[in-house]
Amino acid sequence: MELAGAIITLIGSIFLFLGALGLLRMPDIFNRMQAGTKATTLGSILFLTGSAMAHAECTCTGKIVILILFIIFTNPLSSHALARAAHFIGIPLAKKTVKDDLAEDEKKEEGGQL
């Protein structure tokens, strides 16, 4: 049980590291956001679960479950607000981008209203 918890913690920390690496290496802000929020959310959830399993003697499992729920609730909200702001202030996409659905939709909506 404790060994399994430690290994899950290690996997979670590797996800955290890969998320940070993606944050560093990705070409434009939307890709960076995707690496920096999705991977780190999964990584931190695994990290917390593993910590609770590896230290079963402490009476903190309930608090860690609540903490995981908080992360699941709040993290998508902040990244959604950021992505929306980045779209509205017109940060350019990377050169490799092939499709921008949101911009096409907005154009179509304007055409429909006119």
Binding site: F73, T74, L77, H80, A81, R84, F88
Partner: protein, 229 residues
């Protein structure tokens, strides 16, 4: 360029001056007599599991009262200087998204409940009145961010602030009358060590501090938000 060289020289001078201080630093190995008395007698005298709490609320309770008063003066100053005459030329703001509004409607009560948890458990966890008040104020800030039309009822805010401040002083005087000194927490039953209903009046005092700090910070943020024409 000359300016930068000058800055580097000054920084180097400071480094040479401060280096002996860092080199000769030896951490304190033993407590001072006052701290020793707090550590030895604090837990059984006041019944609080968190020693910092018992020092802040009871032994040095008068200082905390002064800090809360300072915060009140700061809030009053912000309210005084940002009092706004209506200009009328409001620049249009971008509304927030549906996701943010729904998320706020879900998270706002959760944040309020968490703030109450923090200041009620001030004698058991590292939290306390100030932290709980800040968490409540953060929830209110989220409400203001999510919808531009959100209004905070200032009368309720002022009522909560005044009542909690008055109750805080009243509890202090109650300690003076029923127990040994101002803000003494032992006029209530000390209870079982380490449970929620223990440490005498400390949870009560921290609740009032939390409500007062929360109301003051919300007042500051509300005044600043009204000032953004």
């Amino acid at each position: 360029m000359v300016k930068k060289i000058f800055i580097v020289i000054i920084l180097g001078f400071f480094a040479v001056m401060l280096l002996p201080l860092a080199k000769d630093f030896t951490p304190f190995q033993e407590l001072s007599p006052v701290a020793e008395k707090y550590v030895e007698d604090g837990p059984e005298e006041l019944g609080s599991a968190n020693l910092v709490t018992s020092v802040i609320v009871t032994y040095r309770g008068l200082d905390t009262l002064g800090e809360v008063a300072v915060l009140f003066i700061a809030a009053a100053g912000v309210g005084f200087f940002l009092r706004k005459e209506e200009k009328g030329d409001k620049t249009p703001k971008r509304g927030s998204s549906q996701i943010l509004q729904s998320g706020t409607a879900f998270l706002f009560p959760l944040i309020l409940a968490f703030g109450v948890y923090i200041f009620l458990h001030g004698h058991l966890t590292p939290g306390g009145g100030f932290q709980g008040g800040v968490v409540i104020a953060s929830g209110m800030v989220l409400l203001l961010l999510s919808s531009a039309s959100a209004k905070i009822n200032e009368n309720v805010l002022h009522l909560v602030e005044s009542l909690s401040g008055a109750s805080y002083v009243a509890i202090g005087i109650l300690g003076l009358v029923l127990a040994t000194g101002f803000l003494d927490n032992r006029f209530l039953d000390l209870g079982e060590f380490g449970t929620l209903l223990s440490a005498g009046a400390i949870p009560l005092i921290y609740s009032f501090i939390g409500l007062k700090v929360g109301a003051e910070l919300v007042g500051i943020v509300n005044n600043m938000q009204k000032d953004q024409s």
